[in-house]
Subunit: 468 residues, 2 copies
């Protein structure tokens, strides 16, 4: 297929028709393979003669821009290449490419140290309890190991989740909950349901980098809104609503990733008011909820699930191997969401749901997260102390959770530092991985649970020296 | 937002500009929320004055068709409603709505009889072996129960799958295999990778109904090609390639769902030649492979994975609760596929992969499918005998598998028969559920493993009488 750019406008009528089509192809309002308006329709619409349009179309066929198919009309030539997320995002250094960071963290062997990764070390997770629960599920004659799950997912788990959500002030029936294979799957389903290609979505800047990768796969535009320690900057938020008319805002309410900030009551309330005024939908990704001792304000609770959808998962607190997440949404969205889930993955895993349910009801989960909070708070204090000693500034002291957002000393570029550390097998997370703009070159996210022991700090210091 | 139809072309210049936009909105080349070309660009492109375009845009704002945003330009008003698959398909009777059938089969209680469903009864599946394997995995210190999977999925299972594929003539390295959460998830990932909204996809007519639901979620057009007992009708196939320039063809090679047909060597070869000539990609959904004693021709084997992607799963032979499927594709597609998998579901389930691997390597799986084939062959003979007695015609005698495609006596409508049977708690699968056209009103798919015992035939006979 010929390369189509926006050619200079011609001053002939034939040229004008050609330019119209060049432009529509260039801005992808006409996709490769799409049918072009018929000659008669185009002539009528533009008030030109049919012969003018015929000539324009013929010349476009000659240029390889259009293809004529007998009896069917004219079509835009070519097929789009397969979707490569790596090509869609901003072309950054590999060290700050979000997908590359994820894959490094997932693929490198056990000897690597991962202060940049987004999960707890296996030793912090209740593996023995999981093994025991799995054996119980394996033995339980009531748990089916061979049948498809009910479409919405294990009823007993949904029942229990409704009760847990009530503790966080979110009032939802079990029938308003759909189980998924983890939080990412939940967000993907919601995006499929609510977004059209070409829509605009608001994200915090910075935000969890996979939001951006996922949204690229949905072919929507992303607009970033600067994040403050209490939530998004509301003046910028309102401006973005007016300028970009986004369909959706995706956020973490409790314990923002990567900054560790927390939405305040005031910001939450004003944000919902703006959402109402501008008909904005909101997905509240609440997968870090259980790291809090006291629940912070939740949009889903304030809004009563009118325009907010809540997402949860157990990947961060319990096990990333047991893919079990959920969507909580207004009742009338549940049936079409289940249809979509069936059409695109048939059903979610029964066994993960049964194991999670068991650990929730027998008290294992509560005891585990109680202990986890204490351990994380200690690790947080230690990391703040040691990183401050090396010269890093803490952006905000997080209420809870594992993430710490820090600023490197003046003049240091986090991507360079990360590259040096990688050569010593330490995986860091430079700020621009999380940025929707590139404002975070001096920032770095640390996962305090992965910062135990001196190696992280020794390597970090050397990498900072080398990057100066 | 105002309802936008294709208004009659106006003969003023302002009207012509308005008509151009009406048309682009009506045919969805401009989506709700999309930015409209700037006034200068439109004026240049159409060879009209800016004041003409300004007047046209102003009138469209007045009509509520466009919205002006200060400093940003003009946008198409409104947001598209959430994606409801139920609204996208042809508006059929609920009894022949594919998603409704799936949900009936999944949701109705244990007392229902399901000759229309697409899976084996639980009693035919090796639940005790599964329980044992799950306990072994729970105990095995090498199996991580808390960590994310490696992005491509359990290496040992991919290794074993490569060996198994070689038995079917498909030559693939373990690095060409990506594990997924089942066959549907595999197909969804491939569609995400290869398809753009607006593309055209060829399907067999009839075909597995979920292909259609899944493709609707990808916003592509579907073109059906009549299926013969040896594969698609190649004359129609070629005509469809020329007329519709599809990007992709999705099929079952071995044991076609719903007809039980099998691709012949000749058809397979000629089909691949056509695919080469027309630059068509092919997904071969091979989830029924293990029901065959002798492998039938496979496109992936003939083509050497050049333009064919193969999909497999264990949901049909082993367990639908253990979500474990895989994609086999050319090497250079694997990395972007893994990126997409991470972005949209983070990782696939480790535990299902570990259980499947165990059952494969210890010989349990082989013994199970050997026994299954004999049992299915017996059930097939019995179903053919009993259905023929009632007056149904078998379209083709399947080589293997669970599906039997039958024609009801003249004058009977399968949807009506299904509705009557449903009132007696028997879930049938009327032909139009599978059709991409509506040519299959007289057909019905039976799952012979779910046709044991007299009740199916008694109810079917009564339902046929009632529907006459």
């Amino acid at each position: 297929m010929a390369e189509v750019g926006l050619k200079p406008a011609s001053h002939t009528r034939v040229g004008a028709v050609m330019d119209t089509l060049y432009e529509r192809i260039a801005n992808r309002s006409l996709m490769p393979g799409a049918r072009v308006p018929s000659i008669r329709m185009m002539a009528d619409a533009l008030g030109l003669s049919k012969s003018t349009v015929v000539e324009a179309y013929d010349r476009l066929v000659g240029e390889g821009v259009l293809v004529a198919r007998r009896g069917a009309g004219f079509f835009v030539a070519g097929h789009a290449p397969p979707l490569a997320l790596a090509d869609l995002g901003p072309q950054l250094d590999r060290a700050v490419d979000p997908l590359w960071l994820t894959r490094q963290a997932l693929e490198t062997g056990g000897q690597a140290v991962r202060p940049g990764c987004g999960w707890l070390p296996p030793s912090w997770l209740p593996e023995d309890n999981m093994r025991r629960a799995l054996r119980v599920v394996a033995r339980d004659p009531h748990s089916s190991l061979v049948e498809y799950a009910t479409p919405a997912g294990l009823p007993a788990l949904r029942q229990h989740l409704a009760w847990r959500l009530a503790q966080q002030g979110i009032d939802a029936e079990p029938s308003q909950i759909v189980l998924t294979d983890g939080g990412t799957h939940a967000l993907d389903l919601i995006c499929r349901f609510l977004l059209e290609p070409g829509d605009t979505v608001l994200l915090d800047d910075p935000c969890y980098f996979n939001f951006q990768a996922l949204l690229l796969a949905h072919r929507v535009s992303i607009v970033g809104v600067p994040y403050t320690p209490n939530g998004p900057d509301l003046r910028c938020f309102e401006r973005a609503l007016i300028e970009h008319r986004p369909r959706l805002y995706i956020c973490n309410a409790a314990i923002h990733n990567p900054t560790g900030g927390t939405l305040s009551q005031t910001v939450a309330h004003r944000l919902l008011k703006l959402a109402d005024e501008h008909n904005l939908l909101i997905v509240e990704d609440d997968i870090f909820a259980d790291f809090e001792s006291e629940p912070s304000p939740r949009l889903a609770a304030l809004d009563g699930l009118a325009r907010v959808v809540s997402i949860g998962s157990f990947s961060k607190t319990l096990s990333a191997a047991m893919r079990c997440g959920y969507i909580v949404a207004r009742q009338e969205w549940i049936e079409p969401l289940i249809d979509l889930k069936l059409a695109t993955s048939f059903g979610s895993g029964q066994i993960a749901a049964a194991v999670v349910h068991r650990l929730l009801v027998d008290g294992t989960y509560r005891r585990h997260v109680d202990a986890l909070r204490v351990k994380l708070a200690d690790a947080m204090s230690e990391a703040i102390r040691r990183l401050t000693l090396i010269g890093l500034d803490v952006w905000t002291r997080p209420r809870a959770g594992m993430f710490l957002w820090t600023r490197l000393p003046e003049g240091l570029d986090a991507a360079r530092v990360a590259r040096h550390a990688l050569s010593e097998n330490v995986i860091l997370a430079p700020g621009n991985v999380f940025g929707t703009s590139e404002q975070a070159a001096q920032f770095m996210r640390f996962n305090v649970s992965q910062c135990k022991g001196p190696k992280v700090y020794e390597v970090l210091r050397r990498a900072m020296d080398a990057a100066t």
